[in-house]
């Protein structure tokens, strides 16, 4: 019994020896990569053990070992709080709006640009629409405050068109907040998000279009039956990535544009974490909220990846 078992044992040691021998020959590659590995462990993995604070009444002076263990109390407290439940709802609502309308807008723009035959015009549109992506959210919110001010352009335009009689206070209406965030996000990112679709479209085999034309397909049928199927796999991969990021509705725009009148609709989980963790030093509760978010994000990513595998599409991990 022992005799045949020894053989794989030997090959395993041999393999380990070979591994280290090769590794010793790759000292320079190690020198180039191991410091960054340590860096990533310090900044990305090491803080994860701070999650222990989610189960404690965490006091930074006492540290994770000295603080009082409270089990799941922080989580129980959170789920009894209306404002935390609101922030889950707001996070999901705003990121879904972003995902659905943002993707549709990006694909629509890509289709329109793909039909442009004048290269200079196409380039100009691209240059202009990518621009807002590079502006900081602070700048964007500042501009939005001008445009949507009670005597700003949007109100005066709508009054001129006879759609409203009195100026709407856009930034102070809780019912309008999600839509406003959606509009601003699409304005900022539509060009940038279309890049990937445009480049996929340019790699579609032109003979497919020719064949479709010969078969009598007009422009709209060609878009429907050649262009859109051509971007399907890109669409699926990006969808999976975005589902993994569904808990990230961003916090900059909500933090900068939110005010006391709209707080029930503007506060996302990130803003909640910030409010409790940094402003009121409730580290335990804030960590629990952040941990909840991360875990849901991981579950979402893996399920989306699993579904994609079932559908036999490209997977991410």
């Amino acid at each position: 019994m022992t005799e045949p078992a020894r053989k794989p044992e030997l090959t395993r040691t041999a393999r380990i020896r070979k591994f280290f021998k090769t590794l010793m020959g790759q000292k320079q590659l190690m020198l180039m990569s191991v410091p960054m590995l340590l860096y990533v462990f310090l900044f990305n993995y090491y803080p994860m053990w701070g999650w222990i604070a989610a189960f404690e009444k965490y006091n930074p002076k006492l540290g994770p070992f000295g603080s009082k263990w409270v089990g799941l109390d922080n989580f129980k407290w959170l789920f009894n709080r209306e404002d935390f439940l609101f922030s889950i709802r707001n996070t999901l609502a705003m990121s879904l709006i972003n995902l659905v309308f943002g993707t549709l807008a990006a694909i629509l723009l890509a289709v329109l640009l793909n039909e442009v035959r004048t290269r200079a015009f196409k380039r100009t549109v691209q240059t202009v629409t990518y621009l807002p992506h590079f502006l900081s959210m602070v700048i964007v919110v500042g501009m939005a405050q001008n445009i949507f001010a009670s005597n700003g352009t949007v109100n005066s335009l709508l009054i001129k068109l006879g759609l409203i009689d009195d100026p709407v206070f856009w930034l102070g209406e809780e019912k309008l907040f999600w839509g406003l965030v959606g509009v601003i996000n699409i304005w900022k990112e539509v060009g940038w998000n279309s890049i990937i679709y445009i480049s996929t479209m340019t790699s579609i085999d032109p003979t497919l279009y020719e064949a479709a034309s010969i078969d009598g397909a007009g422009r709209f049928r060609r878009i429907l039956h050649v262009t859109l199927p051509g971007i399907k796999s890109t669409f699926v991969v990006l969808l999976i990535m975005n589902i993994g990021h569904l808990m990230e509705a961003g916090f900059e725009i909500q933090y900068l544009m939110g005010n006391s009148q709209v707080i029930d609709y503007s506060q996302t989980i990130d803003v909640f974490v910030l409010k409790y963790g940094i402003s009121s030093n409730e580290y335990g509760i804030a960590t629990a909220a952040g941990m909840f978010k991360s875990i849901v994000a991981i579950i979402l990513l893996f399920s989306a990846n699993f579904i994609a595998k079932k559908l036999d599409e490209d997977t991410l991990i």
Binding site: S33, T129, F134, M137, V138
Partner: protein, 303 residues
């Protein structure tokens, strides 16, 4: 549209669609640029007059007062200096470390390649969250209230590493092999052969990193702790934004009272500082555009 397409005689060129498409895209460009031009127009308007609103693409009463009072404030120069230094230092260090790792992970013979790549890619999806990171940076590493909090946590980015690695893998393998036969080590191959060849992709990544660093305001908010000389330009703007929101609410109730007392309202100042902090990006951006599209496509889906 369908009706038009149907009625078209065979061979007749379709002119309606390109026309409509062109008009739609022109409207889109206008909508994209309008808020920027509107902000510039308000910043060059007289402060009291701006309160009335209704300024669109051109200042109604031209004035450079907002810029004058902005440029009189010594804080703005300090903030500009901080923003420029953090952007330059972060970009250089990030490019160096990220491309070095990208090269190591592009070598198929490297035995730690799979393990390190997985460890890196996972960080794009999983992170510890705000509070543990905050405690690490401020309590464990004691970086708060220093300039280094702008630099050290942002020296590496996985997405950019993948972009560069994809580019390096696309380079001819013979370059590395022939250099190795000539006796060059990996560090030398990277530094003397691969690094200079990566310039197009490095320009892309440099743009991403520089813009990210320039636009950052939240780290100042979290870690600054009242050290005014470390404020960045974006943070100054953010503070101005907060104060104007308050006075905007005040303006709703007593616009008349405000009109008589303030010469330069915060609205024009805010627009002026918006323009100042967006200017470097607006100036550099058109020249780098051809680079970043390739970069996005390289990293895009693979990320």
């Amino acid at each position: 549209m369908k009706a038009i397409a149907k009625n078209r005689k065979p061979g007749q060129r379709d002119v309606i669609f390109p026309l409509v498409n062109g008009i739609v895209l022109c409207i889109l460009m206008f909508v994209t640029l309008y808020p920027v031009l509107n902000t510039v127009a308000i910043s060059f308007n007289d402060g009291t007059d701006a309160l009335r609103g209704g300024i669109e693409l051109w200042p109604r009463v031209f004035s450079t007062k907002a810029y004058e009072s902005l440029l009189k404030d010594p804080m703005i120069y300090q903030a500009f200096f901080i923003s420029v230094s953090r952007t330059v230092i972060t970009t250089l260090l990030n490019l160096f470390f990220t491309s070095m790792l990208a090269f190591a992970l592009s070598r198929k013979e490297y035995v730690l390649r799979g393990f390190i790549t997985t460890a890196m890619v996972l960080t794009m999806y999983v992170n510890a969250g705000l509070i543990p990171n905050y405690l690490l940076i401020s309590k464990t590493l004691k970086l708060s209230k220093t300039f280094w909090v702008y630099i050290i946590p942002t020296m590496f980015s996985c997405f950019n590493m993948i972009v560069i690695r994809t580019y390096i893998i696309g380079l001819p393998e013979a370059l590395v092999e022939s250099a190795r036969i000539d006796g060059a080590g990996d560090i030398r191959i990277f530094w003397q052969i691969i690094f200079p060849l990566c310039m197009p992709v490095l320009a892309t990544v440099a743009l991403f990193v520089a813009v990210g660093s320039w636009n950052q305001w939240f780290d100042t908010q979290l870690y600054n702790g009242g050290k005014k000389y470390l404020h960045s330009l974006q943070y100054l703007l953010k503070m101005k934004l907060a104060t104007t929101t308050q006075s905007m609410n005040a303006a709703n109730t007593s616009a008349e009272a405000l009109k008589s007392t303030t010469q330069t309202t915060p609205i024009t100042i805010r627009c002026a500082i918006t323009v100042v902090s967006a200017l470097p990006i607006l100036l550099v951006y058109p020249f780098l555009q051809r680079y970043f599209v390739t970069g996005m496509v390289l990293g895009g889906v693979k990320g």
